[in-house]
């Protein structure tokens, strides 16, 4: 008669509860929202449609070896056995490592791995055992600025805060569109932004700050202040300064918990609202008005997300937002910024760094590395220059998701070995010697580790069994990476413990033990979910401040060392010089896109989702004699792509928008995506030595100048 199983989605941060209907043969027949789960999160169409991805006929089922040279765009693949594949890969990796050192092996970890608890832990272990610092990940495209900035200000890489949306009276939301992209780097149960309506319901206020009127901004939530793209940092500094001018600083708290407060103030004073108004496109009076609103609010949050993170100065922007919260008494306060309880709830001090020297310079990474990565935008150089000899991709598609596609493609044949572990033969996998089939989230046991790691307003740990057995010869990456280590004669979990171990049960047991739980105990609970007690927001000061002095560093020396302040001044001058008719490209996520894994789902490739149109407002189109549907060439010094115009008046004049995740014309293994390839807008993104933020290594992926010409 089949059965119903509680589980949860692992596409994005909310990790929404799901019910899977499983028939007698063990096949999942439907995924449904689990409205009985205590988190109250309701799964969205992406999660509910994941069966399309899971059952996609284009899924990888067996290890494949490329027979032809990687200079050819389309791979000629032959099915091989796991043992044969792993022996060959392991052997070649071993000799590359022996000859050129561990750093000659680069490992790129993609976004889906973030939602694979044991896979991500194993990938970390794999890199550590290899001893390589040549690490890349999607984090440098979306969030690494927050992690490092929190590490510098609060003393632990895990100390980035979460806004208390449940209780706040004021929300300033920058570069974020939670209705479509959800709340990122926090795990808010998905409620179609009901939480925002409730802020309004209790008399609170919400403002969005974005170059585009976002879907989240409605009459029921709040208006959008259409800022010039890439200038949020100046808006925030001016806001901080304005708050001080209005006497809104809680000097007592700054005294008690802060150091380098005067340096911060001095920095802010250099950016009065009048000075930056032209560059940010927001009148000084408005900045002042918002400063007044924040001071007056009983509690206030400033949330910024990907749109700011990617715009060159993510570290400073995030830091200033936290400093506004701190200075106004909203750090570690109900309704302000705080750190919820979590599975681990332990914040290791960030006090050591290690270095890697490459042909393009020396880079620092934290020691231990803690999931941090080098700038992905220097990948083309590192491959071209021979720093990287072997390239291992785990659940990622860097060819499309970082800039410089053509350069990477051209340089790829230089690599001695490329391996891609994925569920699809993506564009990157297509360029690989070996493509190894991985499991998707329905095929593995998991816990919501990322979300439950102090990112949820309602902290809970949920466990799920695999919903289906992995089909064909798909293997979980824990097994694949362990076997690779074994083949390289390096210590591997497979050697010491259970040789049959395939999906990291032991790792999960280890994590659960931190809370006196076990798989057995948690599965006995309702929804296999253990609720964690809530902690008072004030606990932030106690648990998250991990500098030896236990204070908030308002002006970390690392910012000075990496010249962030000078750079801030230089970029301002650059923006001031910009001609008035400059067009800036920003990134726009649609409801139908997430990462490469959703690119091949036919139901998400309809209408405008079949191409990747260039969104432009009527005024800009009119000024250029362009009409909806016109085919255009978009170019800048980094590259050229063709697309078509979609008139979209949500955009501020001077801003055009495209979505990432397109450009599948050479993804021969993704038949649906390839039929509607769309243009890869990342081709227009800067690469090379000056393309990333010096401290966080974040790529510059939005607010990039482009020119548009009719074809």
């Amino acid at each position: 008669m089949g059965k119903q199983v509680h589980s949860f989605c692992r596409i994005c941060e909310p990790t929404c509860p799901l019910i899977a209907d499983i028939d007698d043969t063990g096949k999942v027949t439907a995924l449904r929202p689990d409205s009985t789960h205590p988190s109250g999160g309701i799964a969205c169409h992406k999660g509910l449609s994941f069966l399309e991805v899971h059952n996609d006929p284009d899924r990888l089922n067996w290890p494949q070896r490329r027979l032809n040279l990687r200079t050819e765009a389309e791979g000629d693949y032959a099915q091989v056995g796991w043992d044969e594949a792993l022996a060959d890969i392991g052997g070649r990796m071993k000799s590359i490592r022996d000859e050129h050192g561990p750093n000659s092996i680069a490992v790129y970890v993609g976004n889906p791995m973030v939602f694979d608890t044991t896979g991500a832990m194993m990938a970390e272990m794999f890199k550590n055992t290899l001893g390589t610092l040549m690490r890349f990940s999607s984090n440098t495209q979306d969030t690494q600025n927050k992690v490092i900035a929190a590490g510098e200000a609060f003393g632990s890489l895990g100390s980035f805060t979460v806004p208390d949306l449940q209780n706040t009276d004021y929300l300033l939301c920058l570069g974020s569109n939670p209705r479509v992209s959800r709340w990122t780097v926090m795990s808010m149960p998905n409620d179609d932004v009901d939480v925002l309506r409730r802020i309004r319901g209790r008399g609170g206020k919400i403002r969005f700050v974005n170059p585009r009127r976002v879907e989240s901004s409605t009459e029921e939530t709040g208006p959008t202040l259409r800022i010039k793209p890439g200038t949020d940092v100046y808006f925030l500094i001016a806001l901080l300064n304005e708050i001080e001018l209005k006497g809104g600083f809680r000097e007592d708290l700054l005294q008690e918990h802060g150091i380098h407060v005067n340096e911060l103030k001095a920095f802010a004073r250099r950016y009065p609202a009048e000075r930056v108004a032209g560059v940010i496109g927001i009148p000084a009076e408005t900045v002042s008005e918002i400063a007044g609103e924040i001071i007056a609010a009983r509690s206030a949050c400033i949330f910024l997300s990907t749109g700011v993170n990617q715009s060159r100065q993510g570290v400073l922007a995030y830091h200033v937002a936290e400093m506004i919260a701190f200075a106004t008494g909203n750090l570690g306060r109900r309704g302000g910024h705080y750190k919820p309880n979590g599975l681990r709830n332990e914040f290791k001090p960030f006090d050591k760094v290690q270095e890697i020297t490459t042909s393009v310079g020396t880079f620092e990474l934290p020691d231990p590395v803690s999931y941090m990565a080098l700038p992905a935008s220097i990948l083309p150089e590192l491959i071209e220059n021979g720093d990287i000899r072997a390239f291992i991709t785990i659940g990622g598609n860097p060819l499309l998701s970082v800039g410089g596609e053509e350069r990477i493609r051209a340089a790829f044949p230089k690599l001695e070995l490329t391996v891609s572990i994925d569920i699809f033969r993506s564009a990157t996998a297509e360029m690989s010697d070996y493509v190894l089939p991985a499991t998707d989230w329905m095929e593995r046991m998991d816990i919501n580790f990322l979300s439950s790691n102090s990112m949820q307003p309602l902290p809970f740990i949920q466990f799920t069994d695999p919903l289906e057995r992995p089909a064909h010869d798909r293997r979980h990456v824990v097994w694949t990476l362990s076997r690779l280590l074994q083949e390289m004669a390096l210590p591997s979990p497979l050697l010491d413990s259970d040789p049959e171990m395939t999906d990291g049960v032991g790792l999960i047991e280890g994590l659960l033990q931190l809370r006196d739980l076990s798989i057995e105990k948690i599965t006995a609970l309702d929804h296999s979910t253990a609720l964690l007690p809530e902690e008072p927001p004030e606990a932030f000061y106690e648990k998250c401040l991990q500098h030896p002095h236990k204070k908030v560093d308002c002006c970390p020396s690392a910012f000075v060392r990496t010249r962030l302040f000078e750079r801030c001044e230089e970029i301002l001058a650059e923006l001031e010089r910009e001609p008035d008719d400059t067009l800036k490209l920003i990134s726009l996520r649609t409801r139908y896109m997430h990462n490469s894994w959703l690119a091949n789902a036919a139901k998400f490739r309809r209408g405008k989702e079949t191409t990747n149109p260039l969104n432009m407002c009527e005024a800009d189109a009119s000024a250029r004699g362009l009409f909806n549907g016109d085919v255009v060439r978009i170019s800048n010094e980094h590259g050229t792509i063709d697309s078509q115009i979609l008139v979209n008046n949500d955009l501020r004049p001077g801003v055009v928008a495209m979505s990432h995740g397109y450009g599948h014309s050479r993804s021969f293994g993704l038949r649906v995506a390839r039929q509607h390839p769309g243009a890869n807008c990342n081709i227009l993104m800067p690469t090379g030595p000056h393309s990333y933020e010096p401290l966080s290594y974040m790529s510059w992926l939005t607010a990039v100048p482009v020119s548009v010409a009719k074809l």
């Binding site: 036919a602 490739r605 405008k608 079949t610 009119s622 549907g629 008139v647």
Partner: protein
Amino acid sequence: MYAAQHLLERSDLAVEIDLYERLPTPWGLVRAGVAPDHPEKKLVIDRQFSFALQDSRLRYLGNVEIGRDVRPAELAEWYDAAIYATGAASDTRMGIPGEELPGCWAAREFVSFYNGHPDFADLKIDLQSERAIVVGNGNVALDVARILTMPVAELERTDISDQALAALRDSRVREVVLLGRRGHLQGAFANPELEELEHIPGVEVTAEGEDLPDDDDVMLDGADWTTRRKLDTLKRLVRRPSSNPRKRIIFRFLSSPVEIVGNGRVEQLLVARNRLERDAGGRLFAAATEEQEVLQAGLVLRAIGYRGDPFPGLPFDTRRGVIANLGGRIADDGKVWPGAYVTGWIKRGCRGIIGSNKRCAAETVAALLEDRAVGRLRAPEIGRDSVLAILRDRQPELVRLDGWRRIDHAERSAGRELGRPRRKLTRTGELLACAAAEQGLHQESSR
């Protein structure tokens, strides 16, 4: 369009689609039916349909009339399958004396006129009387009432036809009476459309014929949420304070038209007062009472439902006003015609919003694909190129995608100068000339 989209989405099939359109322009009801002040309802063109139209597997064949230029029997020979999505070209008549008098129109005709449908481009509608009466309480009736009362300055920012703008500028209509044969609880209109009346500057809304109930009125017992919501809106509308309104919209419930009277043109409408009664099935219907009243009006518009017209060569269900079909498969007397399908209003009758056609088309496409899977479809007898050659021969002024693009550009450019989304070309001759312009410069693609 939805059917084409559903087919194009099937990446596992090698589909090729020819899209026939009687007019030079595509988009059917979205272009010719959706009210000009509802641009958001037309977004589906820019966000969805235009992408299907430009798909290389689809050929646009405009200005070809099935039944005149091509017979359905020929389509059956040329293609594996034909889907008819011809919509509703006719409407329900009131069936009262005087309906033929000048000054009595179908709302459908007026809608087509203000939306620039070439068949109605120069409709000689007379807006010189003070009062217009709209019969019916559906969304079409509200659309029409809105257009008649809206400030022309607002319409000047839309893609309404120039002829309609001219007529509305000269309009003397100050009052629009909406006749509803049943009560306020039975209005067929939707709440958002009702709410819109609130935002027409200078227009007062009143209700007559029936008192609006209080919240705790017993007659509300059993009324569902949607009905209550509409009633709330209506109450809010009529209770708004108004000072010196420019125009008025009057809901007159429980009223049916009986006879149109006039000397050579519409002058009066005789209206009967109704009482609600229950039929055997428990459904409330309007029964006429003795009470009658005369309303002076120079214009009567019937908005009591659209109907499909019989299609030459295809079986028709006269009762429902649709091409006879079983779940989208054309069927004569229950016998299915293989390879022939319908979708949209001509399949299920004139109900629902634009988006409703998506699901409707999905059902039809599923039927088609099922028939294909079990081998019920006959392979085409001639190739795609031959089809095109025949069509060019029969209709030298065939409009292809590039021709439509030229029309689209021309309309948008002309609109842009005036701050309008587009300025529609409304006469077939103009459209064809525009489509053919500079054709010599481009080698027309033969796909």
